[in-house]
Structure formats: C-alpha cells, structure tokens
Amino acid sequence: MEDAETYARAGAALGRLWAGGYDLLNVDDGTTYRLEGTAARLWEVLQAPATAANLASVLIDGFGAPPEMAARDVASFLSALAAAGLVESA
C-alpha cells in the first residue's frame, strides 16, 4: 500500500459504537466484525479519508508504538479491512 494513497470507510460498512470498540457489518455480504483497542481507534480516524502515514502517527503518538511497528500494523489493518470490504481507496 502506497504511503500517499488515502483510505476511507467503504460504503458497505455500517457499524455501531459500544463500550469496548466498534461492531461492523459489511452490508453486502452480511458478515460482522468487532474492532477493539487500537483497531477501534484507527476506525475512528477513518471517519475522514486518511493515509497509512496518518494512521501510523495515531499509533505512534497515542500509543507509543515504534514507527516501524506502527507502519507494519497499519498495513496489516488496512489489508485485512480491505479484504473484508470495509475500507477502500478514497
């Protein structure tokens, strides 16, 4: 995934906030997911289009993650959510 590429919540993604994070639904295939902790925080950031670098900075600044680990985790997060149809290129 390119650093300059921006990502946003997909149109098929609907969700709800609960005490521990977000429940998400891909309305096209009916599959549900639960995001907690840092994943829930990244989902909040994706309310507006964001780059992988924007997302990584949230992990670095908010959770003290080392930059390399943050970049790796964000790439993994975006890849998993794109595969699930929950995020797309903006």
Binding site: L14, R16, A19, V27, D28
Partner: protein, 317 residues
C-alpha cells in the same frame, strides 16, 4: 467483557451460522419495557440501568444485521421480477434519518406494493422461502391492518410485512400508498439501491404513524423522533410542498401534530386524563383528521376494525 456483550456475540455467531437469533424471553423485563415503549432516549436521561440499555442496543445490532440483509435481498428479488415497491421503516430509515442503522431493533422488513402486484410479490417472497401466514388472509388483516406477514423468518431471512395500504388518521388509504410508490427515490445501502419514500413522503408517513399511535394511546416516541428528523431534512420550500401534499392526502392535521410534538404530547396527556378506552381513542383519532368527513370515516373505520378483529378472533372470516 460483560454478560450482555457475550450474549450479543453469541447471537451474532448464531446468525452467521444461519441459526435463529435469541428469543425475546432471554431479554430482561427492563429491556423489554424500554424497547416496547420506544423509551431508550428518555431512559438515558432518567438514569435507567446501563445494563438494560446495553442489552437493548445489542438487540438492535443483532436484529438489524439480519433485517438489513433481508431488506436488500428482498428488494433485489422484487426489482428483478419487475415488482414496483418501496421499503419503509427499519434500519434503512434509521440510516437516512438519523445516520444510524442500529437505533431501534427491527425484526422484519416492511415493503409497500400496489394491490395489482400483490400476487407477483407473494411469488417472489415464496422463492425466498417466505409464505403468507394463514391468519393474515382474514378481512381484519387485509382490510383493517392493510398488511400480510410472510414468514417464517430464520437466521438468514427476516419475515416480510407486505403492505398494500398505509395508515391514515381516517383509517387506511390506498391513495397514500400509491403516492408513496409513485414518488419513490433510491437509497444506497452498500452496493444495493433500495427504493424508499421521497423526503417529503417520509415526513408525511411519520406524521400518519404518529397520528395512529396517538389515536390508539400507543407509545409514540419513535414516530415523533422520526417525524422531527424527516422535517429537519426539508428546507422551508419543501416544507411548504409537504403542507400542500398533506392537504391533498387529508394529512394536514397529522402533519400539524408532527411539526408541533409538544402540543401533540400535551393534548394526548390531557385527553388521556378525561377520556379513556374506545371513546378516548375515537376522540384522539378525530382530532388528527382533516374536517368532519374525515372524522366520520375515522369513526366508521374504528368501529369496523373492532368488529373485524372480534370476527377474526372467532375464526369467522
């Protein structure tokens, strides 16, 4: 993780496996009261037990996941068969009025179609594994409730309510359903486009639901909230157009109630203090009608409804 969240997860897993969601009796009494009375927002202000609120929200999640999937599947099937329809109420309404598909639980899918398309719609629903429930062929259901339930639902399919007419302060009106059908607009839900009432009809429909609830002394919090949100979407020009449409459909009184919920609530409370039972319901219905003719229709409709309901309970017709 608390017990409520665990129960919700179990229910979601059951639905994903194609099994039925948890039965209503698993809910606490407090949660049932909140849901039945549409009082979740009031309960927050009143400091109701947080566990019950969580349970209510978990139920909305579980039921609406299924209901949304069923609505898109049903609508696609109807459209493919060329059956003109609109999807009303449910999670799609929550999404467009409140930006939240999980605001209130929705156990079924409500679809409006024209009487001439009823049998074709029934054929489409049969192909989805849904059949008309036997008692819903009675005069009471067809004429007075104006809908038929197609079931049974399962973990994958929510039951579908097929409406040929829509509620109106003077009874039920095919003209209202026809108008809503003729002006349907698309709503994107994922990759599916659902035909839904246009923004002005959304307001008029919820004004009619509010008038119906007021006439029956039923909880009306949900209808009030929806009508207020529908009105907020319209600018002054479109609100003027809504008033014109309301006049042509005999919904001016209902629209006035919807646009001034404080007055509606006060009047309902005053009415409830002096008139109860059938007399109170009749008085409330009359107050929401446009003129004496409509009020007489409302009274006749209410009398007919009671008689047909009694007959249906006795299995006569």
């Amino acid at each position: 993780m608390n017990a409520h969240a665990t129960a919700a997860e179990a229910a979601i897993a059951a639905l994903a496996d194609g099994q039925s969601p948890p039965p209503w009796p698993t809910l606490t009494g407090e949660t049932q009261r909140l849901l039945v009375n549409n009082r979740v927002a009031v309960a927050v202000a009143a400091g109701t037990d947080a566990g019950a609120l969580d349970e209510a929200r978990d139920l909305a999640w579980v039921t609406n996941v299924r209901s949304l999937a069923s609505a898109t599947r049903t609508s696609r099937a109807l459209a493919a068969a060329g059956v003109r329809h609109v999807v009303v109420k449910g999670p799609a309404l929550g999404l467009r009025l409140h930006g939240d598909a999980f605001l209130r639980p929705s156990a079924d899918v409500d679809v409006v179609t024209a009487p001439k398309d009823e049998s074709r719609a029934a054929t489409v629903l049969a192909a989805l594994g849904l059949a008309r429930e036997a008692e819903h062929g009675t005069l009471y259901w067809r004429r007075f409730l104006g809908e038929a339930h197609f079931g049974p639902g399962d973990g994958r399919n929510a039951p579908v309510d097929l409406h040929l007419v829509l509620p109106h302060p003077s009874g039920r009106r095919r003209a209202l359903a026809s108008a809503v059908l003729s002006r349907a607009v698309p709503q994107r839900v994922g990759s599916t486009t659902l035909p839904v009432p246009d923004p002005i009809d959304d307001l008029l429909l919820h004004a009619a639901y509010l008038a119906k609830s007021a006439a029956r002394f039923e909880p009306a919090g949900g209808a009030m909230l929806d009508a207020a949100a529908a009105a907020r979407r319209l600018g002054p020009d479109r609100l003027q157009e809504a008033r014109r449409r309301a006049t042509s459909l005999g919904l001016s009184g209902a629209l006035s109630l919807a646009l001034d919920p404080g007055r509606a609530a006060t009047r309902a409370r005053l009415l409830a203090q002096v008139l109860t039972g059938t007399l109170g319901r009749a008085a409330s219905a009359v107050l929401a009608c446009d003129g004496a003719g409509e009020a007489l229709r409302a009274l006749a409709f209410e009398a007919g409804r009671k008689a047909a309901q009694a007959a249906a309970h006795r299995g006569w017709f």
